[in-house]
C-alpha cells in the first residue's frame, strides 16, 4: 500500500510528459498571439506596423498616437473582426473534430461522417432559400443568429436521428451509427440538392459563396453571434476530457470506470454540433481543420484529451488564421477560397507526419 517505494525515478520522463504538454500549450498560446498580430498587421492595404500597434494600443485603452483614419478603419472594421472570426472558427472546428474522434474512437471520424455537417448544411440552405418566404418572420426575428442557429439545429437533429437509429437496448453501436450517418448524409445531400434546384439566381449565388468557405463575411455582429454560440463548446468540451479519454477504451469500459456514458454521449454530440453549426454558418464549409489539427497534436503529444482539446482550440485558430492570411494576400486584390488553402496546407503536412509516424512509432 505504501506507494512511496515505487520506482518512480526509472520513469522520470513519464512525469515530464505532462510538463511537456503544459509547455506545449504555452507555446501554442504564444503562436496564436503571433499569428493574430500578423493577421492584423498584414493585408492588401499597406499599413505601417507603427500604425497597427498604435491602433491596437488605442483599442486596449492605452495612449495612442496619430493614425491615418483610413488605416484605423481598415484595422478596426476589417482585420480585427476577421482575425477574431478566424480564431473562433478554427478553434471550434478543431475542438469539435477532436471530440467527435474521441467519441467515435476513430481518429478519422469527422463531423461530416455522422451527418452534422450535412444536416447543418441542409438547414442553412433552407434558411437561405426559404428565408425570404415562409420562414421570413422567424429569420427576421433571429437576425444574424438565424443561419448559425439553423445550422446547429440541423446538425443536432440529424445527429440525434442517427443516434436513435443506432441505439438499441440503451446502448450505441458505433458501426450502426456510422452506417446510419451515411444514410442521413445521403438524405441531407438530396434535400440540399432539391433546395438548390428551387433557389433563384440570387440565392444560388449566396449558396455558392457559402459552400466555398470564406472568412470575408467578418463583421462585428457576426463575431458577436459566433462568440456567443462558440463559448459553450469551447469551454465545456475541454472539461469533458476525462470522459472522452475513458470512451476511447470502449463504451462499456467507460461505463465500468464510472462514466455515465449514455448521458455524456449526447452532450458531447450536442456541443460538437453547436461548434460545427456556428462555424459553418458564418464561414461556409472549411474542411480539414477538424481532421488535421487533432491529428498533428496526437502525433506530437499523444491522445490525452486533457491536452488535446485545449491544444486543438489553439492550434486550430492559429492554423485557420494563417490559411486566411495567405488566402487574402496571395492573389491581391482578389482572394482565394480558404477551404482550398486549408486543404493545400493541411493535406501534405498531415501526410508527411503520418508517414514519419508510421516509420518510427510502429
Amino acid at each position: 500500500m505504501s506507494t512511496g517505494a515505487v520506482a518512480i525515478p526509472g520513469h522520470a520522463n513519464l512525469l515530464k510528459r505532462h510538463q511537456l504538454q503544459q509547455l506545449s500549450l504555452f507555446a501554442l498560446v504564444a503562436l496564436v498571439c503571433v499569428v493574430a498580430l500578423l493577421s492584423i498587421a498584414i493585408g492588401p492595404v499597406n499599413i505601417p506596423l507603427a500604425d497597427v500597434l498604435r491602433t491596437l494600443a488605442g483599442v486596449a485603452g492605452l495612449p495612442a498616437g496619430e493614425v491615418a483614419p483610413q488605416h484605423q478603419a481598415v484595422i478596426l472594421s476589417i482585420r480585427l473582426p476577421r482575425t477574431l472570426l478566424g480564431l473562433l472558427v478554427g478553434a471550434g472546428l478543431a475542438v469539435a473534430g477532436a471530440a467527435m474522434q474521441g467519441l467515435f474512437r476513430n481518429p478519422l471520424a469527422d463531423p461530416s461522417l455522422i451527418g452534422v455537417s450535412a444536416g447543418g448544411a441542409l438547414a442553412a440552405v433552407s434558411v437561405i432559400v426559404l428565408g425570404g418566404t415562409g420562414l421570413a418572420m422567424v429569420t427576421d426575428a433571429l437576425g444574424s443568429f438565424a443561419l448559425p442557429l439553423a445550422a446547429f439545429a440541423g446538425g443536432l437533429v440529424t445527429t440525434l436521428v442517427v443516434y436513435r437509429l443506432a441505439s438499441s437496448d440503451g446502448r450505441t453501436s458505433v458501426t450502426t451509427l456510422l452506417l446510419a450517418g451515411i444514410a442521413i448524409n445521403a438524405l441531407c445531400g438530396a434535400g440540399t440538392g432539391l433546395l438548390t434546384y428551387l433557389a433563384d439566381d440570387q440565392q444560388l449565388r449566396t449558396l455558392t459563396f457559402w459552400s466555398m468557405g470564406s472568412l470575408s463575411g467578418a463583421t462585428w455582429p457576426a463575431v458577436g453571434s459566433l462568440a456567443a454560440l462558440m463559448t459553450p463548446p469551447l469551454l465545456a468540451l475541454p472539461l469533458l476530457a476525462r470522459t472522452l479519454n475513458a470512451l476511447l477504451l470502449g463504451e462499456a469500459e467507460a461505463g465500468h470506470l464510472g462514466i455515465a456514458v449514455q448521458r455524456m454521449q449526447p452532450i458531447i454530440v450536442a456541443l460538437a454540433a453547436l461548434a460545427v453549426g456556428a462555424a459553418v454558418a458564418v464561414s461556409g464549409i472549411i474542411g480539414f481543420v477538424g481532421l488535421v489539427v487533432p491529428h498533428l497534436l496526437r502525433l506530437a503529444q499523444g491522445p490525452d484529451h486533457r491536452f488535446l482539446l485545449p491544444g486543438s482550440a489553439l492550434l486550430g485558430g492559429a492554423l485557420l488564421l494563417l490559411a486566411d492570411l495567405l488566402a487574402r494576400t496571395l492573389v491581391t486584390p482578389a482572394e482565394l477560397p480558404i477551404g482550398i488553402l486549408t486543404a493545400l496546407l493541411g493535406g501534405p503536412f498531415f501526410l508527411a507526419l503520418l508517414l514519419r509516424w508510421r516509420r518510427t512509432a510502429l
Binding site: 499597406n46 483610413q70 484605423q72 478603419a73 463575411g217 462585428w220 487574402r328 486584390p333 482572394e335
Partner: protein, 324 residues
C-alpha cells in the same frame, strides 16, 4: 473587449464615409473599380477606361480590360483587396457580393452604386445611364444608348422578313452533372428573341436549370446554342451532337449547332446589337435562307419524329455553323 473597437470603428467609418460622399459630389471619381463585364464594357464605350483601376474576372472585353488588376470573381470579392486599390467608386450590379464585403466598402467611404442587372433592352439603357451618372458622362451615354438602339433596330428590320422563328436551346456547361439550360429572364433568352428565334424553354422555367435528357428531347430544339469555350468543354461539335439527348432532336438530326463568343453572347452590354446580329446570321433569320423540307413540318410532327428516332443516330449532312 470586442465592443469598444467595434464602436470606435463604426464612428470612424461614419466620419470617413461622410467625407467620401462629399468628395463624390465635388468632382467625378478618378479611380474606378468595375465588377461586372457589361459595366466594364460600358466604361470603355463611354471613353472613361483611363479611370479604371481594377476589374473583376467577368470583365473579359475589351482585351485591354484584361490588363487591369483583377479583384476576383464578382460574387467573392475581398473588402481589403478592393480598398488596397484606393478606389473612389465601386461599380457593381446587384448580384455582386458577398453583401458583408460591399457593406464594409461602403462603410470605408467608397460609394457602391448598385446597378440593377436586368437582361432586357430597357435594363441595358438603365445600366448605361447609371454608369454615365457616376462617371459624369451624360452626353456620351445618350450617344451610346442611341447607337445601341440603332444596331438593334437594324437587326430587327433584317429579321422581320424571316419566314419563321427557329426554336433554340441554350446550354451552359458547368462542370459535373446535367448541363444548365436557359429559361426565361436570362440574357440568352432575350438575345434569342431579339435575333428572331424562340427559346424552347421560355415557358418551362425561370433562369438556368439543369436539363434532363428526356426534357431536352421533349423540347425538340431546332438549333443548339453554346459558347465557344463551353463547346470545347463539352468535347467539341461531334461529341455534343452525338449525345443521346441531343442526337434525336431536330437540331441533332440536322446538325444545327451554333457556338458564339461567350462574353459577346452573355454580357448583355453595349455590344448587344452586334450580338443579336451575329446570332441572327447563325440562326438564318437575317439572310432568310431556304427552309429545309423538314422544317416545314409542324412542331407536333417533329416531336413525334424525334420520339420515334430516339436512340437512333442517323445524321444528315453537316449543317452546323460556328464563328471564330
Amino acid at each position: 473587449m470586442s465592443l469598444s473597437p467595434a464602436a470606435l470603428g463604426a464612428a470612424l467609418l461614419a466620419l470617413v464615409a461622410v467625407a467620401g460622399a462629399e468628395g463624390l459630389v465635388a468632382n467625378p471619381p478618378q479611380r474606378i473599380i468595375s465588377v461586372d463585364g457589361a459595366l466594364t464594357e460600358i466604361v470603355y464605350a463611354l471613353d472613361a477606361a483611363d479611370r479604371l483601376v481594377g476589374v473583376d474576372t467577368t470583365s473579359l472585353y475589351p482585351p485591354a480590360a484584361e490588363e487591369l488588376p483583377k479583384v476576383g470573381y464578382k460574387r467573392a470579392l475581398s473588402a481589403e483587396g478592393l480598398l488596397s486599390l484606393s478606389p473612389d467608386v465601386l461599380l457593381a450590379t446587384d448580384d455582386a457580393g458577398p453583401p458583408e464585403v460591399l457593406k464594409q466598402i461602403v462603410l470605408a467611404g467608397v460609394p457602391v452604386p448598385m446597378i440593377p442587372d436586368q437582361p432586357t433592352v430597357a435594363g441595358l439603357h438603365e445600366k448605361i445611364a447609371a454608369v454615365a451618372d457616376v462617371l459624369d458622362r451624360a452626353g456620351a451615354a445618350v450617344e451610346l444608348s442611341a447607337a445601341v438602339d440603332a444596331a438593334l433596330g437594324e437587326a430587327r428590320a433584317a429579321t422581320a422578313n424571316a419566314s419563321r422563328k427557329p426554336r433554340v436551346l441554350f446550354l451552359l456547361h458547368v462542370g459535373s452533372g446535367n448541363d444548365l439550360a436557359a429559361g426565361r429572364d436570362t440574357a440568352a433568352d432575350t438575345l434569342i428573341r431579339l435575333a428572331g428565334g424562340e427559346n424552347v424553354l421560355h415557358d418551362a422555367f425561370q433562369s438556368y436549370k439543369p436539363l434532363s435528357a428526356e426534357a431536352a428531347l421533349a423540347a425538340a430544339p431546332e438549333v443548339i446554342l453554346v459558347t465557344e469555350r463551353n463547346l470545347k468543354g463539352l468535347g467539341g461539335e461531334d461529341a455534343l451532337l452525338a449525345r443521346p439527348d441531343l442526337a434525336a432532336t431536330p437540331a441533332g438530326q440536322a446538325r444545327r449547332l451554333v457556338s458564339m463568343d461567350g462574353p459577346l453572347l452573355l454580357a448583355f452590354g453595349p455590344r448587344l446589337g452586334e450580338a443579336v446580329a451575329t446570332l441572327a446570321r447563325h440562326l438564318g433569320t437575317i439572310q432568310g435562307g431556304a427552309p429545309r423540307a423538314s422544317e416545314q413540318a409542324s412542331t407536333e410532327e417533329r416531336r413525334d419524329a424525334a420520339a420515334r428516332d430516339a436512340g437512333r443516330t442517323g445524321s444528315p449532312p453537316a449543317n452546323a455553323v460556328t464563328t471564330d
